[in-house]
Amino acid sequence: MSTLRYIADNWDTLGPEVRNQLVIVGICMGVSAAVGLALGVAAARSDRVAAVAIAITSTILTIPSFALFGLFTIWLGLGSAPVIAGLILYALLPIVRNTRTGIRAVRPAVIEAARGMGMSPLQVLLRVEIPLAVPVILAGLRQATVMVVAIATVGATVGADDLGRPILAAVGRSTGSYERLLSGVLPVAAIGILADLILAGAERALSRGRITTAAL
């Protein structure tokens, strides 16, 4: 209760931090969805591309976030920009992996019928493969979003004015730190859960007739 009270009392600083958190996550997911989808399609077409893309994106995930953000400050300075750049890289693996898996799961007969009816390779991709793989791709986006929402808080260490701020400020203090810590953690958790629910709902709504993660 006292935490909610704390949040309400400090909304004039927390509000912008929530907004920044959403902006960072939003831009990051927009870019990594586009890049990840393109890479995932390329990875579905070629085993060599897949091996390289998955190796690189999984290696990126092993870099500590603080180090990755720090690296980007060299080119992008302090603030949200290096955080967004780092998070884009983090988000790629689940999106690329799931896009490839989803497209690969489309039955060859369906592709052959599509080609046989005179769809160009691009039409097959846009009208058949991606629509069929949508639930699996959404599952990847969901995983990436939940991960990115949490990691974005580390961005406060390189000057991003997001929900990592109250958490960072609370760490190591002896008094009054409990509410402050939670005032950052609770909104982060809420955003994460909300994003998860929305994307899971979309995944379910679009699963009729399509390839689902459960079927893989």
Binding site: V110, E112, A113, A114, R115, G116, M117, G118, S120, P131
Partner: protein
């Protein structure tokens, strides 16, 4: 007309899948490609819509070398049905059937009318089936949708690769009968692949029998194939009881019938029947004779000897 001119296909460095194949398919006929597994039937079929590119020779459609036509344009003018059907599982039956009309940018109303017409043709009333997903249909119904989809933009040519291979024998027979009925209405040039010689005999106007390596063993009408197999391979592929099976293909209507002047037979058979049905009538008749009737009027009399002569 589809013509194969010295067509060959070699996958990689192996032996040719199709050797040096030449034959023609006339407009409006069902040409069945039949032969043992791996003899190159599917390869030959897919070379027509260029899902497989020939490594030698030329395939022409109405005189035009298919290699010179834009491949997507070529395919939109050729219906294609495969055993695994390959319906789009996320699209409704109506959307599946409208695939090629949509690729050709037909307006919505025209495409809709066409879908209704086609579903009617394959006996899946639009009111009941148009909005279903393929997963909500039986195997036989899915295959009907596959055929309707292939007929989408009314292509003059239909390619069918073992379309009824995966359905149970009873549905299979029904689908075969339906295809015959359908062909009576739509009059397409159909190339039909099967490894089942009985299906080939039942459906084909002409049969192209291939041996391993895509070598043409014989190209003939079913009745001629049964009566005059060109080689021991053809004979063994056709199997036993050739002449009896052939009786089912010969219509009484084409025969020179004579009345023998004796007493009227007690058993009659209509002129629309086949020699097989006539033989059955003759065997049933107490005096071994059956009258052939045309609209109830007797036009001839058959006995076993007359049937034997007619069957040659």
């Amino acid at each position: 007309m589809i013509s194969f001119e010295h067509v060959g296909k070699r996958y990689g460095a192996g032996p040719p899948a199709v050797g040096d194949l030449s034959f023609e398919v006339s407009d409006g006929e069902i040409c069945v490609l039949v032969g043992p597994s791996g003899c190159g039937k599917t390869t030959s079929l897919k070379m027509i819509n260029r899902l497989v590119e020939p490594t030698s020779g030329t395939i022409r459609i109405d005189g035009r070398d298919t290699a010179t036509v834009d491949v997507d344009v070529l395919r939109r003018g050729i219906g294609y049905v495969i055993q695994q059907i390959g319906l789009f599982p996320h699209l409704t039956v109506a959307e599946n059937v409208a695939t090629v009309p949509r690729l050709l940018h037909w307006d919505r109303r025209r495409a809709r009318a066409r879908v209704d017409e086609l579903l009617e043709l394959v006996e899946l009333p639009a009111a009941e089936f148009a909005q279903r997903l393929p997963g909500e249909l039986s195997g036989g119904q899915q295959q009907r949708v596959g055929v309707a989809r292939a007929l989408g933009a009314d292509p003059p040519i239909l390619l069918m690769d073992e379309p009824f291979g995966a359905v149970d024998p009873i549905s299979r027979e029904r689908l075969q009968d339906e295809l015959r009925r359908l062909q009576g209405v739509v009059r397409k040039t159909i190339v039909f692949v099967t490894h089942d010689i009985d299906e080939a005999i039942k459906l084909g106007d002409r049969i192209v029998l291939l041996n391993v390596g895509g070598v043409l063993a014989q190209h003939a009408a079913p009745a001629d194939l049964l009566a005059h197999p060109a080689s021991p391979f053809v004979e063994s592929f056709l199997g036993g009881s050739r002449m009896v099976r052939r009786l089912g293909l010969v219509q009484l209507r084409g025969l020179a019938l004579t009345a023998d002047g004796g007493v009227s037979p007690t058993v009659a058979v209509d002129i629309g029947a086949t020699l097989r049905e006539a033989l059955d009538a003759v065997l049933r008749a107490p005096d071994g004779r059956a009258a052939v009737t045309d609209a109830g009027r007797m036009v001839g009399v058959l006995d076993t000897e007359a049937i034997r002569r007619a069957a040659q």
